[in-house]
Amino acid sequence: MKEFVMLFRNDYNPASMPSPEQMQHMMKQWMDWMGGIAAQNKLANQGIRLGNAGKTVKPDNVVTDGPYAEIKESVGGFIVVRAASIEEAAEMAKGCPILKVGGNVELRDIVEINMLS
């Protein structure tokens, strides 16, 4: 088994505010999907969810403020899964609820840092 990171991306639109019912419905879908991965003992790390507030630090002491008016494919969070291959991980990602709301899942392998080499 190898580990892969799933990065969740979606367009960030501050104008769209889901209702509490919609939020709850989305939450349930995420829990069902992640619960399903965990039930197969394939959830290696619950990861974290990212908020909308942020800053970007650039060279020459330039710090720009967030949240941003409009960002294409902003990263909303990640989890780490266990799978035999990246193809299997991709299969798992097909159930991700973000796909139903216009987002996507980016899969990445993990580089083992060998301190001795």
């Binding site: 069902d32 399903g36 965990a38 039930a39 197969q40 003992n41 959830l43 619950q46």
Partner: protein, 412 residues
């Protein structure tokens, strides 16, 4: 109480107190000495009381006898005379005779708690931890432990001896862990109590009395933790709550022959309302702080199971709790229960889809679940899965249950 009943009763309640106090006083290196003195105390009691009749206060008598035996031992002990006694003299300038064995309620409780941390030490296997806990914290005899584990006296005796040697080798101290350490060490203690409870609740041992006793002992030790301010933490209350909810069904979940009655077939009048109420109390107490432990989630699931109504909402809540629990900690049982909850909250077809993703093909419960889900959808597949389950099941009780299911299915 007659003497024949009184001594076993006192053995059950007092042996563990005496041994915890002596162990703490003498240190882990002398654990066998402490066991010897505690056992001899009861031997002397049964001899003396047999001749002279019962003393006025048998418990106090036992404490005095244990103290005297401990002091005699200390006086006789060469090592003590030459090495430890001078140090005690130097440090506190007290005379040897003044070495007192403190059997006050406070010291008994502290000693038991500290022994709990020492016994549940990560250097020994969880089986050994449970064995030692039963011996030292619960006063079980080797034979009783062997019964509980479906093993024999020799195996258990060897296991306990090895475990004690290991604790000595590791120089495990009998003391409260420091503030930084307590939550880590406590986690280990809670795991052991959880396993001890499960040993009673799910064990294949037929003896209903033994099983119930294991559950009650685990609950007593968890209680002990809630009574001390250092260990009265949310996760401890959550574990105790979980145990109360489960224990409320102890009477309802087996028949007179010790066979398991499934949750859906239980007589709910036999559910113990007082234990359910206590479980609710501890669950409320557990709802402090910001850490959600797996015990919180399991207690919340167990709480839903104490509600008799079989509604979709109840099962949807249970499903979401399992989703959460599995993300914190995977276990095959939780994965199977999640699939079952899907069948109750959503549909059997959705549950089958999820269940078939689980790689639990060595587990008879996996096939029993699939068989249950396929029943009335595809009876042929259901039958096939029941037969797989029968092949994989080990205990006679499981085999009987599955065979009955097969019979029912064939009669349809």
């Amino acid at each position: 109480m007659q003497q024949q009943e009184l001594i076993p009763h006192l053995f059950r309640t007092e042996y563990r107190k005496i041994i915890a106090v002596l162990c703490r006083q003498f240190g882990m290196e002398q654990i066998e000495v402490a066991e010897d003195i505690a056992s001899q105390t009861f031997l002397t009691a049964s001899e003396t009381w047999g001749i002279k009749g019962l003393p006025e206060n048998p418990t106090a008598w036992l404490y005095v006898a244990a103290k005297n035996k401990a002091k005699d031992h200390l006086k006789r002990n060469d090592l003590f005379q030459k090495k430890i006694a001078p140090q005690i003299k130097n440090s506190s300038s007290s005379e040897l005779q003044e070495t007192d064995i403190d059997l006050s309620e406070k010291n008994i409780q502290d000693s038991q708690l500290q022994m709990m941390f020492a016994v549940c030490h990560p250097s020994i296997s969880s089986e050994s931890q449970i064995g030692l806990a039963l011996r030292i914290l619960c006063g079980f005899g080797i034979e009783e432990i062997a019964n509980a584990f479906l093993s024999n006296k020799e195996t258990i005796g060897k296991r306990l001896t090895r475990a004690k040697e290991k604790l000595k080798l590791e120089k495990v101290k009998i003391e409260f862990p420091g503030e930084n350490e307590i939550s880590n060490r406590l986690e280990n203690v809670l795991t052991t109590l959880y396993l001890l409870f499960n040993e009673g609740y799910y064990s294949a041992a037929k003896d209903k009395v033994v099983r119930k006793e294991l559950c009650l002992e685990a609950m007593r030790l968890a209680h002990l933790l809630t009574e001390n301010e250092n260990t009265d933490l949310p996760q401890v209350n959550a574990l105790l709550s979980l145990m109360c909810f489960h224990a409320s069904r102890l009477e309802a979940r087996t028949n007179d022959d010790g066979e398991i009655i499934l949750y859906k077939d239980q007589n709910t009048d036999l559910w113990n309302k007082e234990l359910i109420r206590q479980g609710e109390y501890f669950l409320n107490t557990a709802a402090k702080g910001n850490k959600l432990s797996k015990y919180h989630l399991e207690a919340a699931i167990a709480y839903r199971h104490t509600q008799k109504e079989d509604t979709v909402e109840k099962w949807e809540t249970i499903l979401q709790l399992y989703n959460h629990l599995l993300q914190i900690q995977y276990s095959p049982a939780a994965a199977l229960n999640r699939a079952y909850a899907i069948s109750k909250a959503r549909s059997k077809n959705e549950a089958i889809k999820e269940a078939e993703k689980l790689d639990l093909t060595g587990n008879h419960l996996y096939y029993s679940l699939l068989a249950d889900l396929y029943t009335n959808i595809d009876d042929e597949k259901a039958l096939h899965h029941f037969q797989q389950a029968l092949l994989l099941s080990k205990s006679a009780a499981d085999k009987k249950l599955i065979s009955e299911n097969i019979r029912h299915l064939k009669m349809k």
